[in-house]
Structure formats: C-alpha cells, structure tokens
C-alpha cells in the first residue's frame, strides 16, 4: 500500500502488518468470548429438551432477514476494502457508509423484534433460554454498534484519503461479527 502509514504499521516482526495482526489478536480473543457463551448455550440446550418450547417462539423471519442484512453489509465492507486497495478513498468511504446502513438496519429490526418479544412476556428473566437469547444476541448487538461507530471514523478519514489500510482492518472485524451471527441464527432461531 503506497499511502502514508503510522509508525506502528512499519514495524513488523512477523511479516504481517501490525494493524492486521492486532485485529486478528482481537478476534482470537473474541472467539473465546463468543465460544464460551455459545458453548454454554449449546450444552444447556442439549441437556434441556424443554428449551425447544421457548425457542419455538423466536421468529425465524426476523433472524433470516437480519442474516441477509449482515451478509450484504459484509459484501459492501469487502468491496470497500477492494476500493481502498486501489487507493480510491471516496469509493471506500461510500461503501463503508452502506455497511453502516446495514448495521443500523440490523439494529432497527432487532429492536422491533425484541420489543415484540418483551411485550409478550419473553423477557431476559423468563427462563434460561431467554436469558441466553438476550445475552448472546445482546453481546453480538454491542459488537454491531461498536463496529458501526468505528467504521464511521474510518470512513471519515478514508474519504480524505487517509489511513486507507484501516478499511481492511475494520472489514475483518465486521466479517467476524457476520460469522458470529451466522452461528447465532441457527442456534437461536432454527433449532426448535
């Protein structure tokens, strides 16, 4: 990449750009965080056949639509990366804004879905299934919010042609958020 780099990205003991190594380290720790949560969910789910009754009340269409939204936002994120590699900061910023739009859509759908469920009495304290449901999807939702905010800053810089390498880093993070949802979707919505 031909553009100006912060000093940290110039130093590399591994041959991997430091920023990208850092984002993968973050993701390695995220794997343990989400892995622990989903692993705990899975073992309880397998030990409690009655959770299927609670899971039957989740709405597969909300989940499927949000999967579509996240897959699409991952697609625009990777196109932003492609644009950044060609040095086209404006195009990258535009595509990142589409990705943020995806994040906002995801959160709006999620809030409609949760409002509906909470009004029907399926709150986080209703039973252990719903506790896991809100904890796992909630933790994932926080990652969506964090990603969207950081993407805003990166898009702002990218539009001015600055720090274009960061477009790739936020993209890698965003795809991870997508991958987590790819697993949450069948675990929470499809297995009934």
């Amino acid at each position: 990449m031909a553009h100006a780099k912060p000093i940290a990205t110039l130093r590399s003991a591994t041959g991997i750009p430091t920023g990208r190594l850092a984002i993968w380290w973050v993701l390695a720790s995220e794997v343990v965080i989400f892995g622990g949560l989903l692993g705990a969910y899975l073992m309880h789910r397998l030990g409690h056949p009655e959770w299927a009754d609670a899971a039957a009340h989740t709405n597969v269409w909300f989940g499927a639509f949000n999967t579509f939204v996240l897959l699409t936002s991952s697609f625009t994120a990777v196109l932003a990366h492609q644009a950044a590699e060609k040095g086209n900061g404006k195009e990258a910023a535009k595509l990142l804004c589409f990705t943020i739009l995806g994040a906002v859509t995801f959160l709006i759908v999620k809030s409609i879905e949760w409002t509906n469920e909470i009004l029907h009495g399926y709150t986080i304290t209703a039973n252990n299934f719903w506790s896991f449901y809100y904890t796992a999807a909630g933790l994932h939702g926080l990652h969506v919010i964090a990603g969207a905010v950081i993407m805003g800053f990166i898009a702002f810089d990218a539009y001015r042609g600055k720090e274009l390498q960061r477009v790739e880093f936020i993209g890698i993070y965003w795809h991870f958020v997508d991958v987590v949802w790819i697993f949450l979707f069948p675990l929470l919505y499809i297995a009934k």
Binding site: I16, W24, A54, A56, P186
Partner: protein, 230 residues
C-alpha cells in the same frame, strides 16, 4: 490451501459470486428445517452455517492468504473453547451421575415440558415428565420427583441426594419432627425454603413449582400424611 503463499493486495476473489452463494445458502438454511426432518434440519442449519462461515473467513477476511502464524493463533482459541466445552458439558448435559443428581435441572425439564406445546422431542427425562403430566397433578408423584431426591420417596429423609447434606434432610416419619411443626410452617418451608422458618438453607424454595395454591395445599397434605399420626 495456499498456506505458503504471501499475502497479496489483490486476491482475485469474485466477491459478487461469493455473496450470491451466501444468499443461496441462507435460503436453503431457512427452507430446509421446514421439512421437519431432524437430520435435514441439522444439516441445513448447522452444516450450512459452517460452509457460510468458511466462505466468509476465507474470501472476505482473506484468512486463506494469511501467514500460518495467524491460523495457529485462531486455532489456539478454538482449542481452548473445545477444552472448556469438553470439561463442562458432561456435568451440564447429564442430570445425574453415580453420586449426584441435579434436582433443579430435572425439575426444570419436568416443569418446562408441562407448560410446553411442543413436547415431541425425544429424551428420557421428557418421557418421565410427560407421564407425570398426562396423569394431571399428583402430590405423590411430585413429592417423589422433587422432594424425594433428598427426603426419600417415603419421606424418611433417606433420599440419594440427601445423604451428603448437613444438616440431613428432615424425616417426616419421625414423631419428634412433628412436635414442632404445623401446617403453616410446612407450607412456608415448601414455598419459601426451610430457611424462611429457621431451618436449613439447603432446603430450597420450591414455590415456583406450585403456582396453583391448591397444588401447594395438596403438597402440604401429602407431607403431613407421611407423618406417624395419620
């Protein structure tokens, strides 16, 4: 896999093709489970999730082109996750072992299946619970299932899970026990736990199991019926 390949800025991935493949797989993973066949559901829901994740990780995150170090790093996280699961799952997924029994989990299964409309899943606990439900509420069966694990199904304090408890579970057949007990006290102990009447904190509150006051009274009657005077 191109593990030895250097990371290139241009990966020549057809992102659009990958994207539409992902959407196609999403449709299959939603439609598959509607067939209602267990193995089709598992395959379409979880098998396809793995395929989708792999497509995203390799082509969007470009892990395919990363150095081996990065893959080892992620693999370490996955292994740690596996160790956690393997270590904890046997205790969580089983509700009883040689010397222990998870009374709360069993009761939760029984209660959950009771209230549910989707009781078609297989499972030993569920079968037992369904039998209880089919017969309507029975204080005797509920006592055996819930109380009997510690107090013994005869109420003499010799249940398998009670052996290790200190103080030991109450013996309802002991006349001395009834010298200091009355109906109200038994009711409160069942509903709010024995600690609520100055007894052992190990006797948990079970009120949530008997939201119907009539069922709670039947439980009180049953406990009293175990006493020597009746």
């Amino acid at each position: 896999m191109s593990e030895h390949q250097e990371h290139h800025d241009e990966h020549h991935v057809n992102y659009k093709k990958i994207y539409f493949t992902l959407l196609g797989l999403l449709v299959v993973s939603v439609v598959g489970p509607f067939l209602g066949i267990l193995w089709v559901t598992l395959l379409t829901a979880f098998g396809i999730a793995l395929v989708k994740a792999r497509l995203v990780i390799n082509n969007f995150m470009h892990l395919k082109w990363e150095k081996r170090l990065m893959k080892w790093m992620l693999a370490t996280s996955l292994v740690l996750m596996g160790i956690m699961f393997a270590g904890v799952a046997p205790d969580v997924m089983n509700h009883e072992g040689n010397n222990w029994e998870n009374v709360a989990a069993k009761a939760a299964v029984a209660r959950g299946v009771d209230g549910g409309e989707h009781a078609e899943e297989a499972g030993e606990e569920e079968e037992t619970a369904t039998e209880v439900v089919a017969a309507g509420f029975s204080a005797e069966q509920s006592f055996t299932l819930v109380c009997g694990t510690c107090h013994g199904s005869a109420g003499d304090g010799t249940g398998p899970a009670g052996a290790a408890l200190d103080p030991p579970p109450a013996d309802f057949t002991d006349p001395v026990f009834w010298e200091t007990r009355d109906r109200d006290r038994i009711r409160i102990a069942i509903r709010d736990g024995a600690a609520a009447v100055g007894g052992s904190a190990l006797m948990a509150p079970w009120g949530a199991l008997y939201p119907d006051p009539d069922h709670l009274e039947q439980m009180v009657d049953y406990v009293i019926s175990l006493g020597p005077n009746e």
